[in-house]
Symmetry: C2
Subunit: 104 residues, 2 copies
């Protein structure tokens, strides 16, 4: 069944936010943009914890694919492996990664 899926990454707070953003925007996002089958990528900083709780996460990234097969194929590709390796290098401990199945 074709159902749009997103890879949702919640980046934990980095020790050095400026250095993180420089690498994220200058190196990581170009890798993301090279993923085969990527429909759309959206990212931004979590500026406020509206629930009054901890600012557990620093940044969210969301990568849209046509379906879970397309997502799997993207990360099975050489570009996907390079992207995943870079993620492992930069993601602060406590970062989370989920697959979301979008509602209609």
């Amino acid at each position: 069944m074709a159902m749009t899926v997103k890879l949702v990454v919640l980046y934990a707070q980095p020790d050095d936010p400026d250095a993180f953003d420089k690498h994220y925007l200058g190196t990581h996002m170009p890798l993301v943009d090279g993923l085969p089958g990527l429909q759309r990528a959206e990212t931004g900083k979590l500026v406020t914890a509206l629930d009054g709780g901890e600012k557990t996460f620093y940044r969210i990234a969301e990568l849209y694919f046509a379906d879970s097969d397309a997502l799997g194929a993207a990360f099975g590709s050489d570009a996907g492996k390079a992207t995943a390796a870079d993620y492992q290098a930069i993601a602060p401990p406590g970062s989370r990664m989920f697959i979301e199945a979008l509602d209609d």
Copy 2:
């Protein structure tokens, strides 16, 4: 400065997922759709924790507004207060709510 913002809600796992979804889709989303200034709403279930960690969150909801003033105005409205009250009624303990400032 005008910068698209999102209200990002991470719903923790509900005790009764079917009952939660029924309320969420049948009652909560119609309230959300009535928010003044809402540009787009997107929601879906987090089906897999790709990092091998806990499935901490059940569902994600993202509400797009033109800027933080528009978001604030939406939740200052009667429709916004009704939406916030319904959120308080249904959000499982541990749910999180953030404001995200989207990158260009």
